[in-house]
């Protein structure tokens, strides 16, 4: 009953979305306010409907309705209820429903805003959003239906269908296959929604951009209208990436957080163009230049969002041939081709009207530096895109599978990231319009000297690794420049408003949220860079098989194997947990409990590390293999990951920075 309801509602929503699309077009064509209004209301209806459908699916998931094939595939009786509910995004069909649900929520929010002032944009925003939503709904309705049920024929064959085929009886498995153990982790519960939120919310600025192009509004109104959307989208996407990294670090058991895996890169690529976009729209807002470029960036971001979903959902990454076999692969491909063709075609058509008098006074002006920033982000994108694409091309053209792994990306992107950091140091000190090498040099030399001093101290006390020293110099430079900017601005306030320095500092954020939020983000990025440099350049590891009371030594730590125990855990796991005493020199630091969780239903092991995080390093111990305690002992793999916790610390500050930047401004919101 619920399955029919859920599916029926999905079909209804699909047609409603098509109606909204058509009515918006027709209303615009006939200049009929009433028809456009009808399109808007249709769009508003999609959200409650999809909510109903998603709730039906969640109800089935939580209540072990194993006749529904999606429920059978992603849940099992032993799973806790919260995991059953979040298994919604643990499989293909459910995650598409979730995508569509978020998309309709965002589109409804947009439809609900006051449209008096920008009425001419409304139908086109609806057209773009409805088209995207209809595409995802069509995937669900026609190819990846989560409400299919099992039916058994008289001959014993099991079929999948929503409605009961003739001469069949319901087939209800007694238990489900259960969620992939890798996904049974709190990080996995929130990482996909964050990523999807980021993906979906980038559709909104794209829709506005297209509306602006179609209506030939060449001003920056669409950018101002979507500025906060873009920031939130960027926040979610960034959080999705960081949470994914944290999950990998805690669960995958390879001592790292980022492996340049194509799935990771699929989410990283729209982040790159989105970040470039966030910077370059400022040039348009301040100087009215590069309108075409900003359009191109948002089109690219949208295409990469769909491309990212395509990469992870079509099976193309395991093999190009899997792509051809999967039903949704070609659909995605067609959709990306179609939307890119239309968007770029439209952009070319409007190219002339977007043209502005470009005048850059100096290569050191802020707008010029932002252009270099864009070039670098696009360069990283080129490396990532090609790295993901090349194995597919190789398989297609030479029938040879190849891997493009971390060495490729690290070698190519490290100099680009270093150059970005240099820009991050210089750009805040330059001015819009006029700025010369001399003015920047005058502002830069003090922070540069301080950074040099820090580097020298590190040289004598911490490392002589040349790349590390360059990295730390750049990090210190950006930090000093940013602090210098804060201090300069706060001091100016103390003079102008007779405020004390702390109050002045606080008020800075109120005055120009985007700028100072942006600076906080720069600081957070540098803290993350400390962590990345630390783990990339100084990670140490060792592995050994120990009998009880034996020790492994690494990076000043000594780990003594004390005990091992097996016991049943929650979620029907079989837990094998080792107890390891940690010493630094002779000092006892405490115990770590690396463990192996075995999931019998999936016949899969999860290697969960024991961790001892400090700001200096992270001691990360894995139980790789074990024998009964009486015999030859257990194999441990130990990593010392220097500085890596700065990465997680940085991501918290990043969150703060973006909240500052995206927080509504009183004056502005009144104006809008």
């Amino acid at each position: 009953m619920l399955a029919e309801l859920g599916f029926g509602v999905l079909v209804l929503t699909f047609f409603l979305t098509l109606y909204s699309f058509t009515a918006a077009l027709y209303g615009e064509w006939k200049r009929s306010e009433a028809v456009v209004e009808s399109a808007r209301r249709a769009m508003l209806l999609t959200w409650p409907l999809l909510t109903l459908s998603a709730l039906a699916l969640i109800y089935l998931l939580v209540n072990n309705a194993y006749q529904v094939s999606f429920v059978y595939e992603v849940t099992s009786r032993s799973m806790p209820a919260y995991l059953k509910a979040t298994a919604l995004w643990g499989g293909q069909a459910g995650s598409l429903v979730f995508w569509a649900w978020l998309m309709s929520a965002f589109t409804s929010l947009v439809a609900l805003r006051k449209w008096e002032r920008d009425r001419e944009l409304l139908p086109w925003v609806l057209v773009v959003a409805a088209f995207t939503l209809a595409f995802f709904l069509s995937l669900i309705v026609f190819f990846e239906n989560p409400f299919l049920r099992y039916w058994q024929t008289a001959g014993g064959n099991v079929l999948r269908a929503v409605f009961q085929p003739a001469n069949t009886l319901p087939f209800i498995p007694s238990d489900g296959r259960g969620l992939n153990p890798l996904l049974r982790h709190p990080g996995m519960v929130i990482h996909p929604p964050m990523l999807y939120l980021g993906f979906v919310s980038f559709v909104i600025p794209y829709a506005f951009a297209m509306a602006a192009l179609i209506t030939n509004r060449s001003d920056d109104r669409w950018i101002r209208l979507t500025r906060r959307w873009t920031l939130w989208a960027w926040l979610f996407l960034s959080l999705g990436l960081v949470l994914g990294g944290r999950w990998a670090y805690d669960v995958l058991g390879w001592g790292g957080y980022w492996a340049w895996d194509p799935v990771e890169i699929a989410a990283f690529m729209p982040w790159l163009t989105g970040t470039a976009f966030l910077h370059s729209v400022m040039i348009q807002e301040k100087r009215g230049m590069f309108k075409q470029w900003n359009m191109l960036l948002i089109i690219l971001t949208y295409a990469l969002v769909i491309f990212g979903t395509f990469l992870t959902r079509s099976g193309v990454l395991s093999s190009v041939h899997a792509f051809a076999q999967s039903a949704i692969g070609p659909m995605f491909f067609g959709f990306i081709a179609l939307t890119s063709f239309f968007s770029v075609g439209l952009l070319i058509y409007r190219w002339g009207s977007l043209k502005a008098d470009v005048e850059i006074k100096s290569l050191f002006s802020r707008e010029a530096l932002f252009l270099f920033n864009n070039l670098l982000f696009m360069s990283v994108l080129v490396v990532c895109f090609w790295g993901v694409l090349f194995p597919l091309l190789s398989e297609l053209f030479t029938n040879q599978k190849v891997t493009v792994g971390p060495p490729f990306y690290e070698r190519a992107t490290a100099p680009l990231f270093a150059a970005l950091m240099l820009l991050m140091g210089a750009a805040p000190l330059s001015a819009w319009g006029t700025a010369s090498a001399r003015t920047i040099g005058r502002a830069l030399w003090k922070p540069a000297l301080a950074a040099l001093f820090v580097t020298a101290v590190l040289f004598f006390t911490y490392t002589r690794h040349p790349i590390a020293l360059i990295g730390f110099f750049l990090i210190a430079l950006v930090l000093f420049v940013t602090f210098y900017e804060f201090w300069r601005a706060a001091r100016a306030r103390t003079k102008a408003h007779a405020e004390n320095i702390l109050l002045a500092f606080w008020n800075l954020f109120g005055r120009n949220r985007r700028r100072y939020g942006g600076y906080v983000i720069h600081i957070s990025m540098m803290l993350m860079a400390v962590g990345i440099l630390g783990i990339e350049l100084f990670q140490r590891e060792t592995q050994g098989t120990l009998a009880l009371q034996q020790s492994l030594v690494l990076g000043g730590y000594r780990l003594e194997y004390r005990d091992i125990a097996r016991f049943p855990g929650p979620d029907s796991r079989e837990v094998t947990r080792a107890v390891v005493d940690v010493y630094q020199g002779e000092r006892y630091l405490g115990q770590l409990y690396p463990r192996i969780d075995y999931y019998p239903e999936a016949q899969q092991n999860m290697t969960i590390p024991g961790q001892r995080p400090t700001l200096r390093d992270d001691l990360y111990v894995l139980l790789v293999d074990w024998k009964p305690a009486s015999s030859s002992g257990a194999t441990f793999k130990v990593y010392v990951n220097p500085l890596v916790n700065w990465l997680w610390l940085g991501s918290l500050i990043f969150l703060a920075g973006i909240l500052i930047a995206a927080w509504p401004e009183r004056e502005r919101s009144a104006e809008q």
Binding site: L252, P262, D357, S362, W386, S394, Q400, T403
Partner: protein
């Protein structure tokens, strides 16, 4: 002058692509660390994008033992890697081997990046020095001698913009 900077930058980018992966040392008794040193640079032949040293499957454990065996036989790192490539194909390497079609993997990004840099620098050169464009954008540019007063007008316009 500035163009030279970009040329050098582009050269560095190209050079960085060809920088060989670090050579590894050779141990006499194959410990787990010796095995992992090589396994880390190989990819599991069956799982996707999983380095051999961390892959938890039974098959990978056996492949690691294979490495240990070969190390004990006195095989070099390169020979062991080649053995895996011969048996399981180039996909076991962390990067495509630099030969034939695979050169595209290494050449396309630096070429595209250099192209992007070239286009940007060319454009900036046009934008930074209005008035001395060759064919240029086709828009009427003010004569070079009015640059000073032009700057004044620009600044005035900006001030007005700010006031608005």
């Amino acid at each position: 002058m500035k163009r030279h900077f970009f040329l050098i930058g582009a050269l560095i980018a190209v050079f960085a692509f060809f920088w060989p992966a670090g050579a590894s040392a050779q141990g006499s008794t194959p410990s787990d660390d010796d095995v992992n040193r090589i396994a880390r640079e190989l990819y599991c032949p069956v799982c996707e994008n999983t380095p051999l040293d961390v892959c938890p499957t039974q098959a990978c454990a056996e492949w690691r033992e294979q490495i240990r065996l070969m190390l004990a036989e006195g095989k070099t790192d390169a020979e062991i890697k080649q053995y895996f490539v011969d048996y399981y194909g180039a996909r076991v390497l962390a990067e495509p081997p630099r030969q034939g079609f695979n050169w595209l993997a290494y050449l396309v990004p630096p070429v595209l990046i250099a192209l992007g840099a070239f286009v940007l620098v060319r454009a900036l050169r046009d934008w930074v020095k209005p008035g001395v464009t060759e064919a240029g954008t086709g828009e009427s540019e003010p004569p070079a001698d009015s640059a000073e007063s032009d700057e004044y007008i620009q600044r005035l316009a900006e001030e007005l913009q700010k006031r608005r």
